[in-house]
Amino acid sequence: MKGGLFKITLYVALVGLPVWMATFLGAPSKGVLNDVGRNFALVGFMILVVQFLLAARIKWIERSFGLDILIRYHKYMAFAAAGFLIIHPFLLALGHRSWRLLIAVDLPWYIWAGKLALIILIVNILFGVYQGKLGLKFEKWRLGHDLSAITILLLIFLHAWFAGDDLKVLPMQVLWMILISGAIVLFVHHRFLRPIRLGRYLYRVEEIQQETGNVWTVKLTPPHGRTIGHYMPGQFHFLTFFRSPKLPVEEHHWTISSSPAQKDFISSTIKAVGDFTSTIGLTKAGDTVRVHGPFGRYSYLLHPEERDLVFLAGGIGITPLMAMLRHMRDVGDTRSVTLLYANKQEDGIVFSKELQQMAAGKNPNLTLVHILSRPDEKWTGETGHLDREKIERHCNGNLGKKTFYVCGPVKMAEGLVEALRRKGVSERQIRREIFSFLD
């Protein structure tokens, strides 16, 4: 976490700023309950403003944590903001010794604006949490999330401006103006300006290659006169495909499966599982793609001193690990890697041939173990699930000095992490990406 602590401190300072200002410049004290209630409102508002910063994929912030972690944090802080904002009218009501604020109907419009904002915020959070269970498509959810975020921001701004005692002084009003314009600028930049800018340098689909029955590799080349930006093996990027007009144009994120050691193309290996990815096989050479990346901190390059790695992969979770292996091969790295790779059937193993070739070579020093849960009769390798017993056996019982990279379906990955920790493997030795932004 390079610079992470500094950025976390900065975050706390930023969220605390309106409270500090209000304490010394704002309205006079009206008793402890009122003062704390107002502070909770200020803090809740500020957390929501900074949410725009967290979600805007700012590289400087992302670099220290990884975008996956940042988006998770954004989600958790939404709960925190809602908590502060829900508590604040209760504290104010207690402070006034009157429940009118909570139950009366004949309240000024700006109080209702605040209540409405809180309701939208809670609904928004529930949709974020239950998006998967509701079967809501990501694209639709995202649009709703954007619109409600802006609505909440504006309502809460007006609410604070007219209802807030502390907003009666000029410095606080100036701060409020800066905050709301900052949030709106970030939003417009993130959702409109940057896509337009990136859209001027569209990548081209050079080749689309079927790896297995439902897994495809898309090879992309940069536009004329441009080079592929620096990235680390294991990172991911956002791609927006512009294909036949009948096919959906949506932005999704995928791991980069190519090795940054070769500069000709950048690729993602995509499994057709969802609404959008099921159309991936229809992509044609010559189609264009908007590329935004790279993001993430799931890369062995950030930990060059670790020489003994264990890769635990399930299905399409092989992609970041494959990018790392390819990179090790291309740069002649000699570290030792044990790859335990779980699939259902033999014909579902992605990169099967290339892995075999790598295992035969010296760079990296790869031990390849395939595990199939539904093998046919001819299969002589490991069978069943990727579990603690198999990990221990293939690590010769020695887990202490190794670093584990886990990537696969959420349940499998969580199970493996749990199993490793129970065997006394420390958190530092386990690397895992929280790839899905929503569940």
């Binding site: 976390i8 309205a27 006079p28 502070n39 502060f84």
Partner: protein, 140 residues
């Protein structure tokens, strides 16, 4: 593992923010600024500390929010509405017949009896407090 560190960091950050918000709220009343006249809200406490700032704010609201265009404060003569000279000095009742208290005056401003327009939308609770504090200073 990243997730555990994330959980701990989030809990840490939220706790700090929580503590700062509570602590500054508590300190504000105790140390940093003087309490004002919030208690006027109830109408029960007779002995509030009326400070000059609040009275001034009340007076300027009285002028700027339109009260002064109907109500005189320094002469006993009625304008469009009755004079408010000495309103809280126990001389008279409100037009509705109600006794003059914080609450009845507040209700009159928000949901008036008779021809006066309602001011509930134009004044928030704190501004009402300030106006009431100001009205209490009017001599008979």
């Amino acid at each position: 593992m990243a997730k555990t560190i994330l959980h701990r960091t989030t809990i840490g950050v939220v706790s700090i923010i929580f503590v700062v918000a509570v602590l500054l709220g508590v300190l504000k009343g105790e140390v940093i600024s003087q309490p004002d006249v919030r208690k006027a809200n109830d109408g029960q406490q007779e002995h509030e500390s009326l400070n000059a700032q609040t009275i001034n704010q009340g007076a300027s609201l009285f002028k700027n929010k339109g009260c002064a265009s109907c109500h005189a404060v320094d002469s006993a003569k009625a304008g469009i509405g009755p004079s408010l000279k000495g309103l809280f000095k126990g001389i008279k009742n409100l037009g509705s017949g109600a006794k003059v208290t914080d609450k009845s005056v507040r209700d009159q401003i928000k949901t008036p009896y008779k021809n006066m327009p309602p001011f509930a939308d134009r004044l928030n609770e704190d501004e009402l407090d300030q106006i009431i504090v100001y009205l209490k200073t009017l001599r008979s």
